[in-house]
């Protein structure tokens, strides 16, 4: 019972801080652009307003369009339960690493299906881009996670984390690669292609409004936190005192998001083919790293 309560408390804590982390990112981005920026709670204000507004459905809508935001949200919450965050404890079972990849990948697909069924041209283009990016980035992510699994000879997230020590070359390279993939998967510039505002009017999100838009936005923040959490887990040693754990986790999270946003602010958007080319070059590197990890055994 206690175990479940802790996991639940963990998730609730993350649900609360996810928009705040986004708020902090917005604030920092604004400062880097010489402006004052919104208050840190701004993202929460936006979400609350969206939840209180009605969602308009298009005439050609299908079930997928209506429910996909909620499925994505559920996916993300579940995935967050799988990784240790504020505490050491998380849902842990044999093969949870595969479930994690599945949850992340399926939410991208649901997003694409949902927006295609809205019937809007821009949404369709956005979905197209989302799928081509997602297939590649999820392949990369699977490869990295496979490398981790090989390094630790385990299929349980609990025994994989943290990946260092030992400070082997393959471990460090794979962590860096995962950080890059996480960056791409957060759709940060120069990779925010499916939602490119000036090109295709927010792409996949164009037809969503009110609550469903709020839920979708919320899931994006959760996804970002999920990816950050994985990175933190890869580095953060878990044998420190229990009381220090939440603080160090949060500090790491903040440091990561600040680094990411500083990088993002000074980039323009790539074209989809350029982004794909960049990601394709990562595949052989990952394969090599995986092979090295295998040799370590």
């Amino acid at each position: 019972m206690e175990y479940i309560a802790i996991v639940l408390a963990n998730i609730v804590a993350i649900l609360i801080i996810a928009p705040i982390i986004d708020g902090i990112e917005r604030k920092i981005k604004a400062k880097l652009q010489c402006r004052k920026g919104p208050p840190i709670l701004q993202t929460w204000y936006d979400l609350v307003k969206l939840f209180r507004r009605p969602s308009i459905v298009t005439e050609e809508y299908s079930l997928a369009y209506v429910i996909s935001p909620y499925i994505i949200f559920a996916n993300m919450t579940l995935a967050l339960a799988l990784v240790p965050s504020f505490t050491r404890i998380s849902l842990s079972f044999f093969g949870d690493i595969i479930v994690l990849v599945y949850l992340i990948a399926s939410s991208s697909i649901f997003l694409a299906i949902g927006s295609i069924s809205s019937g809007n041209v821009f949404a369709t283009i956005g979905a197209n881009r989302e799928i081509s990016l997602a297939t590649l980035s999820k392949l990369l992510m699977a490869l990295v996670l496979a490398t981790f699994a090989t390094l630790k000879r385990a299929l349980t997230l609990g025994s994989i984390f943290p990946i260092i020590p030992p400070y082997t070359l393959s471990a460090i390279i794979s962590i860096i690669l995962f950080a890059i993939i996480a960056y791409i998967d957060c759709y940060k510039l120069p990779f925010d292609i499916p939602e490119a505002e000036p090109e295709i009017i927010d792409g996949i999100l164009v037809e969503y409004s009110g609550k469903s838009l709020g839920v979708l936005k919320y899931s994006t923040y959760l996804k970002r936190i999920l990816l950050f959490t994985i990175i933190v887990d890869l580095i953060l040693p878990r044998n420190i005192p229990t009381l220090l754990l939440p603080i160090s986790y949060f500090t790491f999270l903040l440091a990561l998001s600040i680094t990411y946003v500083c990088v993002e602010t000074y980039f323009g958007r790539l074209r989809i083919d350029q982004a794909l080319k960049f990601m394709k070059t990562m595949v052989p590197i990952l394969l090599v790293v995986w092979f090295i990890a295998y040799l370590h055994y």
């Binding site: 880097l32 652009q33 298009t58 120069p190 292609i193 295709i200 980039f267 323009g268 958007r269």
Partner: protein, 550 residues
């Protein structure tokens, strides 16, 4: 090749009666049969360029419709207006579009507004008038009372008619409301995957009927204010062009100080317009920091304009014959300080931004426009200069105080989006250096000419170099202190058709940047209106369908 002015005049005399209307500007009145021959010589052989076609209803004056083709010969610093009288019964004259494709829109516009038929025009369809405009009514004819018409139109079930879209191909509509443009324009892009195979343009959403308002309601000294509102970015250049046209027509000498003040404001406008363009380009390429930083610098220029004129955008400084406000020593000092700051800041950031890899990789060799295509479509301004054509009204047809300044005209040959950016980059610094010269050397004197009297039925041509290219106003003065005919031609009018050439074969993601690269100013273009034929297919939609808002 003919070069000297006298030789050209002799040549023109062979075709018809030549009349000098003001300095360096000649009107040749020729018969319809010879139009094409002369236009070909002027545009292709003499290396001039076609600038504008103006239709005019002159039945109350001489019983004919008139068509004026304006050509600018840059090398000889000459403007030639080819005047053709059109029979008011048959209304037919030969089209020059087969020779100069750039004349396409101009002739269609004259067809819309006056019902003049251009024989052998490839595509003489409605261009400008709104979708629900009744057939056979040509608003700029002098016998049409559009005010009555307006109330009739308002009573119709307007807003319910929505054009049906063709569904055979995969169409991406860019517009009418697209966040990249901030202006209602409609580009239909036909795509295969992410590649654009064809493009179509339906524009003129911002047609506001300026010419009719000016000719019917306003007096000569009120028109400058409506001219300024042709465009909110480069309005002052329209204002100056109009005033120059009237001043030329009435042979009014503007005091030198007024000319200097005009030049100062024109250059301030150019700097702010180009900075705005850079901001928009960076925003389109997803580089929001670039947008924020350039607009941060631009804000200083806007504040300066506010201090000098009393408004940030619509300066309202001109009247026919001079300017309304003076610039005192204190303001000159302030302007010089601001310019130093702006120059320092821009040198620090702007070229760094242009070196960023995402920016270069998404602008170099994108949206190509070759020199030949540019000549054919008769594009102007930075678009022409980026395609290797050296054209600049300030240099070749000097106005205001430009003949007394030292400046360079940047020309690049690549013809892509990047070279358009470079042209503008160079121009910003040229403008700042010009502003410094102007502010330091401003002479003392009056602000307005004395005895501003405007005679009837005189023609005048006003040329300015707007931030987007050459800007032409043809004015025929009328009775009772009104204009008889006023045709402002904004640079985007010549530049927009070139985007369709640039877009073909490019990636969808690059479309907004390509469209923006000509710095389209649709509200300038749309003072006159045009629509595609396909709007004839009309469909009445129910409220629900409309509310879908697709």
């Amino acid at each position: 090749m003919l070069t000297s002015i006298t030789e050209i005049l002799n040549l023109l005399k062979k075709y018809g009666k030549v009349e000098k209307i003001h300095k360096d500007t000649y009107v040749v009145e020729i018969s319809p049969g010879k139009v094409r021959e002369l236009c070909e010589i002027l545009h292709w052989k003499l290396n001039g360029h076609f600038s504008v076609t103006v239709g005019s209803d002159e039945r109350p004056v001489n019983g004919y419709f008139g068509v004026y083709h304006v050509f600018l010969l840059d090398k000889q610093k000459l403007s030639v207006i080819v005047h053709v009288k059109v029979n008011p019964v048959t209304l037919k004259i030969p089209s020059i579009t087969p020779i100069i494709p750039g004349a396409n829109w101009h002739e269609r516009e004259a067809h819309d507004f006056f019902g003049i038929f251009f024989e052998e025009h490839p595509n003489l369809e409605r261009l400008i008038l709104p979708y629900d405009w009744p057939e056979g009514i040509h608003p700029l004819r002098k016998d049409v009372n559009v005010r009555e018409l307006r109330y009739k139109l308002l009573k119709k079930e307007t807003g319910l008619v929505v054009e049906k879209k063709a569904e055979e191909e995969y169409i991406v509509p860019i517009g009418p409301y697209h966040p990249a443009l901030h202006e209602p324009e409609y580009f239909e892009l036909y795509v295969e995957g992410e590649k654009i195979v064809d493009a179509r343009y339906k524009g003129f959403h911002v047609h506001r009927g300026i010419e009719k308002v000016a000719e019917e309601r306003l007096t000569i000294n009120q028109v400058p204010f409506i001219a300024e509102r042709i465009c909110g970015i480069c309005g002052y250049t329209h204002n100056v062009a109009y005033c120059q046209a009237v001043e030329n027509a009435a042979r009014i000498d503007v005091p030198l100080r007024a000319k200097y003040i005009r030049s100062i404001l024109l250059e301030i406008e150019r700097v702010h317009s180009h900075l705005l363009w850079f901001g928009v380009l960076f925003h389109l390429l997803g580089f929001d920091t670039g947008f924020m930083m350039t607009w941060l610098v631009r804000e200083k220029i806007m504040d300066l304009a506010e201090i000098l004129t009393g408004n940030r955008k619509n300066y309202g400084m001109n009247l026919v014959g001079g300017v309304r406000r003076d610039i005192n020593e204190e303001k000159i000092k302030l302007s010089l300080e601001t310019l130093d700051y702006v120059e320092y800041k821009l040198r620090k950031i702007l070229d760094k931004m242009l070196k960023l890899k995402e920016i270069t990789s998404r602008t170099k060799e994108i949206g190509l426009l070759s020199r030949e295509e540019a000549r054919k479509l008769s594009v102007v301004g930075p678009v022409a200069r980026a395609s290797g054509i050296s054209t600049d009204v300030r240099r070749y047809h000097p106005y205001a105080a430009y003949s007394e300044l030292e400046f360079k005209v940047p020309v690049y040959d690549a013809g892509d989006v990047y070279s358009r950016a470079l042209v503008r980059y160079d121009e910003i610094f040229e403008s700042i250096s010009m502003l410094k010269q102007l502010l330091k050397n401003i002479p003392k004197g009056d602000l307005t000419a004395e005895n501003v009297k405007v005679p009837e039925y005189r023609k005048g041509l006003g040329l300015t170099e707007a931030p987007r290219g050459e800007n032409v106003h043809l004015v025929i003065t009328g009775r009772e202190n009104k204009v008889y005919r006023w045709r402002p031609r904004a640079p985007s009018y010549n530049n927009v058709p070139s985007t369709l050439v640039m877009l073909k074969g490019e990636k969808l993601a690059d479309a907004p940047a390509i469209i923006a690269s000509i710095d389209p100013c649709f509200s300038c273009t749309d003072h006159v209106v045009v629509i595609d034929v396909r709007t004839n297919v009309k469909q009445v939609l129910r409220l629900k369908e409309i509310a879908r808002g697709k």
